[in-house]
């Protein structure tokens, strides 16, 4: 490379790397945490590093290395360590290094253009975009995959101590990142034997290196053995051990558009085959060639390692413990990117440009969600303005396996003043447990004991929050207890990906309520307050709360109208809307409901006294409900007088 070319290539590499992670970050900016991410962040709030090791030792399978680094990262960030985008900068950093190593690996194998194409393919790969950006070990797994392969190839070329050390360091890091790092090392060992010519001292030293890496795991061997021997071993969501194993990996991992991915991989493989055949036709040249198949043989590592790792994963999944998942097999992805890059490189520039355009467009415009998340962030945003420590939170969340405890951790770590275990009650939900910090108050049936426990749980609290997902009949008896003492005041429907959570804020029903007026046959106004008093100014937003009692379940969708009238009875300002809590169609018989709204006093309203009136109307037809006195006498107007606001100029 010339003096001009070198900085240009470095600049290109930097731009490509930054563009890739920028793309990932843009796609991930608004995404909620998944349960694994919440575990790690929560662990950082409640544990020190040695406790993290103990915690992971209880699970057994995952070595603690990556988790320690991640917990350290979150703790180093302080309060900012609870924010999704900031926490995930760890993955951004890891991804940057992984892509840089991949570039270097490609450049070592067949020149910098190969590295550039490989980074492009990996950077735009939907699978990598998703899993490398989560705050989970998969980005690091790609990093150590590229690092181990690069370090081994370099060591084989020149077996210096520094390179040996680098390989061992990457190997140890791989084993400490994820147990699929073991599959990677096995793949590298087999590839070494397959591709590198027999040379006693080199082989001895190579296996010394592999041994050193393996040796580093001895401390973790007992927990690992314990998990596989004493525990269940595998995971329930592992890939099936048949044709679907490969089908699903293919569907999830291939570049988009898939046909272009197929094309590149086939061309890459055929190109390697052609190189090999060409070398074999030349006859095996004598000399100090280190690889069995000459220079083309070195490139074969990008096929040999993933093939061995994939075979091992399949065999273990089939005959051992079911643990193969596409995300664990992310170790295949750097090699696939290299094979595809070999394919790109063999095309004429016009086809390369076309391929780049066809891959870039969907990468920029679409984002594949491999796993959907729950709207945790939205829940906290909804609760934060009104939440007070001591509030009761009731969860009826029938979501994924770890959803119940994860919800508590998330709220615990983020609600102002925190949320204690004793203040959260779980109705149904998952029984999955984070062994280090189990949740409290979980019931699976609505028996007398559970309901009595629920009554005790609510006792004395002024405010309660009900969070539901996939609501079932189990909730109904508890809801009855809740609505005996509390009125719904605010409702939120919160969405993340395709997951829809509902949250309702409840307030304890005051004992001072008394019938003030009746609207229609079934609804009674029993109280109201103007928290800021009756003296208001023009342009002011006047908060207003009213308490309603449903004598029977209304069969219509009703709205509440709040009106400010002038001396002639003409409305000068009004706030018409459905109740701020549940819609009246959801009101059960003999339940209370708190409506909260604000009325804006017009800026051009002359100073003076203005009556404040309230009414109810049918949302569909717009018709007002007739109003009655508490004893049943019909009122002449559907608007009921509440008080008089004294408006002064601002």
């Amino acid at each position: 490379m010339t003096r001009v070319e070198r900085p240009a290539v470095i600049l290109l590499a930097a731009l490509l790397l930054l563009a890739s992670v920028a793309l990932h970050t843009a796609h991930f900016h608004d995404r909620n945490f998944r349960e694994d991410e919440i575990y790690t962040v929560h662990a950082a709030q409640i544990m020190n590093l040695s406790e993290v090791v103990q915690w992971l030792g209880m699970g057994g399978v995952h070595p603690p290395g990556w988790r320690l680094a991640a917990v350290g990262w979150v703790q180093a960030l302080g309060e900012a360590g609870k924010s999704e985008p900031i926490v995930r900068h760890f993955s951004t950093l890891v991804t940057l290094i992984a892509l840089a190593l991949l570039w270097r690996l490609g450049a070592d194998l067949s020149g910098w253009p190969l590295g550039a194409y490989a980074v492009f393919v990996l950077g735009t790969l939907p699978f990598a975009q998703f899993y490398m950006h989560e705050f989970r070990p998969y980005g690091a797994l790609v990093l150590v995959t590229a690092g181990c392969t690069l370090a081994l190839l370099r060591w084989v070329r020149r077996p210096t101590f520094a390179r040996a050390l680098l390989f061992v360091a990457f190997g140890v890091a791989a084993l400490q990142t994820h147990y699929y790092g073991g599959y990677l090392l096995a793949g590298l060992a087999v590839a070494f034997v397959l591709l590198v010519r027999w040379e006693r001292s080199l082989y001895l030293r190579a296996f010394g290196l592999f041994f050193a890496i393996a040796f580093s795991l001895t401390a973790w061997l007992l927990p690992l053995l314990h998990r596989f021997v004493a525990g269940a071993g595998g995971v329930t969501y592992a890939l099936p051990s048949d044709r679907r194993f490969f089908q699903q990996l293919y569907d999830e991992m291939m570049p988009v558009p898939m046909a272009i991915g197929d094309l590149l991989v086939i061309v890459g493989v055929l190109g390697m085959a052609q190189g090999l055949v060409g070398w074999l036709r030349q006859g095996r040249p004598a000399g100090s060639e280190r690889y069995r198949f000459g220079p083309p043989g070195r490139v074969l590592i990008v096929l040999a390692v993933p093939a061995v790792a994939l075979a091992l994963a399949f065999v273990t999944n089939r005959f051992g413990t079911g643990n193969a998942t596409p995300k664990n097999l992310i170790i295949l992805v750097p090699f696939m990117a290299l094979v595809a890059a070999l394919g790109v490189r063999q095309l004429p520039w016009q086809a390369r440009l076309a391929v780049i355009l066809l891959i870039t467009y969907p990468a920029l415009t679409t984002f594949r969600t491999y796993r959907t998340n729950a709207p945790y962030r939205e829940l906290v945003a909804f609760m934060t303005p009104d939440y007070r420590p001591g509030d009761k939170v009731i969860a009826h969340v029938q979501d994924y396996a770890a959803s119940t405890q994860v919800l508590f951790y998330y709220l615990h770590d983020r609600l102002p003043g925190s949320l204690t275990k004793a203040d959260m009650f779980h109705i149904g939900g998952s029984s999955h447990r984070f062994p280090y910090d189990p949740i409290a108050n979980q019931v699976y049936t609505a028996d007398e004991e559970a309901l009595a426990g629920f009554e005790r749980f609510l006792d004395g609290a002024e405010r309660a929050w009900l969070i539901t997902y996939n609501r079932s009949e189990l909730l109904d008896p508890f809801l009855e207890v809740l609505q005996r003492h509390y009125a719904d005041a605010q409702k939120g429907v919160l969405v993340a990906d395709r997951t829809v959570y509902e949250i309702v804020a409840y307030r304890r029903i005051p004992e001072t309520l008394a019938p003030l007026a009746r609207f229609g046959e079934a609804i009674r106004l029993e109280g109201w307050t103007l928290p800021e008093g009756v003296s208001v100014r023009t342009c002011q937003e006047v908060p207003f709360e009213s308490w309603w009692h449903a004598l029977a379940a209304p069969e219509a969708d009703l709205g509440i109208g709040l009106a400010l009238a002038d001396a002639s009875g003409m409305g000068v300002a009004r706030a018409d809307a459905e109740p701020s809590g549940l819609r009246s169609l959801e009101w059960r018989a003999d339940t209370y409901h708190l409506d909260r709204r604000t009325l804006r006093v017009p800026c051009d309203l002359p100073a003076g006294d203005y009556p404040l009136l309230v009414s109810m109307y049918n949302v569909k037809t717009g018709e007002a409900l007739p109003a009655f006195t508490p004893d049943g006498a019909s009122l002449p107007s559907p608007l009921v007088y509440l008080t008089t606001l004294i408006v002064s100029e601002r």
């Binding site: 558009p257 046909a259 094309l263 095309l347 076309a354």
Partner: protein
Amino acid sequence: MLNAAETAQWMGQSGIHPAGWRILGVYWVKLVGVTEGATRWLSALCTILTLALVYRLSVDLFDQQTGLYALFLLGTTPLIIFYMREFRPYPMLALVTAGLLLSFLRWVRRLRFNYALLFVMFGITALQTHYFAAYVLAGLSLTFVTLARWDRGRYLRAFGLFAAIALSFTAWLLPVINGLVAHGPLGYPLPTKWSTLVIVHDDLQLSPPSLGQLLLLVALLMPVGAQFVRRPCKHIFRFGEEWRKGYILLVPLFVLAIAFALNTWKSSITTRNLIVLLPPLAVLLAFALRRLPWQAQVAIVTLIAVPALTDFRAYRQGPAYRQMVNFIESHYEPDDRFLITGINAARPLAFYLFDRLPTRPTKSNLFFVGYPTFHLLKLEHLENLILTPEPEALADFADSLVGAQRLWYLYGKEDRALLDPFLAILQKDFALYRIGQATTDITYHFREYRRVPANLRDLAHFGETISLQGWNLPGGVSVRACQEVPFESWWRALDAPGADLGIGLVLADATGQGVARVDAEPSGARTLDWAAGTYHLDGRTLRVPCDLPPGDYPLLIGMFDMVSTEPLPIYTPDGTPSGSTLYYLTTLTVTP
């Protein structure tokens, strides 16, 4: 039913489509018959010729390998696979497009009379095939002006050829003008919007589409270079050797632009009309494929061949005409009545029934309910098109049933409010005998109703609600071993049964042991659907065992609950329990 002159008149009535292809199609049918397989061989023939011409065009422009790739790409394009096999003008349209491109190219390069004649012949055929061929001719003339250097003699002669082709169309000009001016826009063409381009792209693209996009981009970016120069044409064409690519790129581009421009005035774009784009584009993509390294060629051929062999994209699903005729055919009698509703294409169904049933049904025996009563200018008018169940229409329907023994009720989406008055009339005198269904674009239902005989009487009651009213052994009581014995029985629901019941027909030996039986639901409606007071005809066959010794065997019938399999008790018509769950019908005499 039409000769060539009548076909031309028929086509002239609507005006847009020229008569040529239709006359050819009519005579082809007269030659080979009306079955789907035979008629579509005309399309197969056109497809073969199209592919051959596209190959030749590719070889003329580039080389043989490009020709082979063009064949492959065109032959595996899903739109070509679908529309080139239908018995419609589109295969011929593709054929004449390829023919025009090839013959004109040859003529431009060597101004020989026979090439000119060939081009004019293709041009005339094109205009007689489909009006989109005119767009191709216009695109070709614009491409000629763009690519061919100014040469007064060549230009004059070229436009003479175009004029000759246009001249041949003068006879059809008035119907076309009338069609364009007098008729409103059709309901199905695509609007002139960007989204139309997306639809055209999606429909015309190769499968997988991204490979088509790749090849198109490569074709646009890749220069032709000197690789294909065998006979330099610099004195004829501009742009060096790039004219080769320009020839197959500009024609479809001009055609698309013209189609869009005219679409703003008169909606006419459909993706199948734009099949004219595919022959030149296939050559263009083949050029790109040819220029890729062999590994990419192998990969692309494999990746296109796999879906072409394993998937079939049905651009349009036709109604289940064939299944309907198959259902009707075995029991059909010329005097049968038809009640048809909820089938989108009622007129084609009527024509299909006219042509396929052993004897053509009388138009007055076909009732179409829920169809507008006005007549478009079409091949043959239908009678009894009924939009709503007006009293007059119901009376006509009731009158038409007089004397009929059978009615075929064919429907797709059933509007009960519309149909119930007709079904009420029908069910007074007719019983449901057989049902069938087939799903293509939607699910189609076929029902055979038979007239309830006047001589039915109460023979026995099964349970509380069902009465056996009569039975019939059409083949008589003498049967042979191995024979399939047809049997019909008439039933009346005294009240709605409210259970899912089956009918059991049993042949017993002297000891009362069953030697053969056929248990199944009634051949018509399930008993759950039997309304009080309705009659039902059950038809089934009983197979006499091959090893049954000759002799006399009682034939018995029973009813049973399909869920619990429990038989229903039998009562005499006056309500006395018979003590058995099987009712004796007759004795079959079995001979070897």
